[in-house]
């Protein structure tokens, strides 16, 4: 299974990363190199093994759903590239 230029374009679109023409070939080669490297992982027998998701053994760390005022609204909005009247501004979606 090797990755084509079209695959790279598709992955980049899913990842919301616009690539320049010269990057397409570079990342095609890189991704193929990485997938080639991990190919041998297939040889490990994992029949009946549950995939591991975390190592702490902790379960369901609940807390009360309470809101608090950080008092940081102005500072937070200051970090946004565009804002208006205390709101973060985005381009229209449709």
């Amino acid at each position: 299974m090797s990755i084509s230029i079209d695959d790279v374009k598709h992955i980049a679109k899913l990842a919301r990363i616009e690539l320049r023409e010269d990057e397409l070939e570079k990342f095609r080669a890189d991704l193929n190199k990485i997938l080639g490297y991990i190919e041998v992982l297939k040889t490990v027998n994992t029949d009946g093994v549950e995939p591991l998701a975390q190592v702490t053994g902790l379960q369901n760390a609940f807390r009360e759903d309470q809101s608090e005022n950080s008092g940081l609204q102005k500072d937070i909005v200051k970090n946004a590239p565009e804002s208006e009247r205390g709101f973060i501004k985005v381009k229209k979606v449709f």
Binding site: A15, E18, L31, I34, V40, L41, P51, V55, L72, K91
Partner: protein, 492 residues
């Protein structure tokens, strides 16, 4: 005593007995940074004004008899830790001018004791790398030989401690980013048990393995940092409620009953001959201290880096989706619609390694490939964890090399997409299993590129989950009978 090379414990004593003030101490390190960091480039931001203001406050607390362990002690923090009002860049273009609105929990803990933040250190961009060369601001140089890498991703913090630009430094590790630079820079580094230390306010890379730790001159100092940094944080629900032991008071135990395993798979083919020799000499030294040494096997060791090469990018692809040009950070100038804001911002803003990891992860998680890549990796990861559990039924800790090689030359691995996965192959398995580990200096060796120089070699000490006490004891015992941790780079 040369205060720049003193330990935290020694500095505490000097401060408490008023032989030095916190302001004088901060000035000493700030002036060293000015003198040496133009060449080393271990800092991205130096916070001189804030540091001196904090130092004056620390002096008032000391005068009032309110000094705690870290009051007036200077430190550096990897530029991945959020610091309120102080630029936090992740060494990236996207966050080049980002000013967090709150402090990371570990920064707050140190501030609460009036420790002195000297500045923010360089790293591989978003902590993606093992050489500090992927930094948007350029590479950091190894204090032992300036044309070599300090390791990474926490290379700036490691170089700063090695060059005595700070007595200790905060760092992070996902798969080697503390142990490998500690090894290459000849200092002591602690990677905690996953869940020991809060990650709140630390820019995320791969959340199932991201851990916060430290660099210092001695294992005793590392234990002191572990005591202040560890503990449950309601803002990081992966942190454990386990009690924090007074590790720095528990160091002097005898090693007579200590059973030590040496995993044979960690002496990989391609390991440098001097690295193998130095590590085996260190193991022999620890045997002489009374420990019982036996060979053990972790047969899946070689697959660790492959699991990591899938799992980490998968988590990266999710964690880095927040850099979208909307709420903070770099934004493109040329977008016509929302999709273009995302795609152009990310295309222009991310460096090669971040793009490579995001795309690898996106692919590994995409429809039709998830079972083959992501789930397969997480199954092998469980087998790696089980392998460690089995071995820790026979022995208390493991000893092995921290890195198969000493520091390579800057530029010699540039743009190899597999470099980090190979460089960290001896660190990644324990990271995937969330185990605590140290790297401590155990001598010097020649690089395999043939240059006739001596570079630091690191001994790795891996403990079972929550096994900090034992790794600190063994590391400390070794440092009581050796001098390698006291060696300094020339001309510093």
């Amino acid at each position: 005593m040369d205060i720049a090379f003193a330990t935290i414990k020694e500095l505490r004593k000097l401060l408490n007995t008023k032989q030095i003030s916190a302001v004088e101490l901060a000035k000493e390190f700030l002036s060293r940074i000015k003198e040496y960091d133009q060449d080393l480039r271990s800092f991205i931001t130096v916070t001189e004004e804030q540091a001196l203001a904090q130092a004056r406050e620390a002096d008032r607390a000391i005068a009032a008899g309110e000094a705690e362990m870290f009051t007036g002690i200077p430190f550096a923090a990897k530029d991945l830790f959020s610091t309120r009002g102080i630029k936090t860049t992740a060494a990236s273009k996207i966050l080049e001018n980002f000013q967090p609105v709150y402090d990371a929990t570990v920064i707050r803990k140190l501030k609460d004791q009036k420790a002195i933040l000297l500045g923010k250190t360089n790293l591989d961009q978003f902590a993606h790398g093992s050489s500090t060369e992927t930094s948007y601001f350029g590479p950091t140089h190894n204090p032992w030989h300036r044309d070599r890498i300090p390791g990474g991703s926490s290379g700036g913090s490691a170089a700063a401690v090695a060059a005595s630009l700070a007595p200790f430094a905060l760092a992070t590790e996902t798969g080697g980013s503390i142990r490998q630079p500690a090894s290459l820079c000849g200092i002591s580094g602690w990677k905690p048990t996953y869940g020991r230390v809060s990650r709140y306010g630390v820019i995320a890379m791969a959340s199932s393995a991201d851990s916060i730790g430290t660099f210092a001159r001695t294992v005793e100092d590392l234990a002191l940092t572990a005591e202040i940094l560890s503990g449950f944080d309601p803002k990081d629900s992966t942190t454990s409620k386990k009690d924090i032991a007074p590790w720095s008071d528990m160091l002097s135990g005898s090693l007579d009953d200590c059973k030590i395993g040496v995993p044979k798979e960690y002496f990989v083919s391609g390991i440098e001959p001097d690295v193998e020799k130095r590590v085996k000499e260190a193991i022999e030294e620890i045997r002489k201290l009374g420990a019982k040494i036996q060979s053990v096997s972790l047969p899946l060791t070689m697959f660790g880096s492959m699991v990591y090469a899938i799992v980490t990018p998968s988590e990266v692809s999710s964690n880095l989706s927040r850099y979208d040009g909307i709420r903070y950070g770099y934004v493109t100038k040329e977008a016509r619609d929302l999709y273009e804001i995302y795609a152009k911002t990310r295309g222009e803003g991310f460096g090669d390694e971040a793009k490579r990891r995001i795309m690898t992860g996106t692919y590994a998680l995409s429809a039709g490939y998830r079972d083959q890549y992501y789930l397969k990796s997480q199954k092998v990861r469980r087998l790696i964890v089980n392998g460690f559990s089995e071995v820790f039924k026979q022995v208390d800790i493991l000893l092995c090399p921290s890195s198969p090689n000493v520091a390579i030359k800057i530029g010699s691995a540039a743009d190899d997409p597999l470099f980090g996965y190979i460089a960290d192959q001896l660190n990644i398995p324990a990271a995937l299993a969330g185990l605590p580990a140290l790297s401590i200096p155990c001598g010097f060796g020649k690089p395999k590129d043939g240059e006739d120089v001596k570079l630091p070699v690191g001994l790795q000490i891996i403990g079972p989950q929550w096994g900090e006490e034992k790794i600190f004891q063994v590391g400390h015992a070794y440092q009581q009978v050796t001098e390698f941790h006291k060696m300094r780079p020339r001309n510093l």
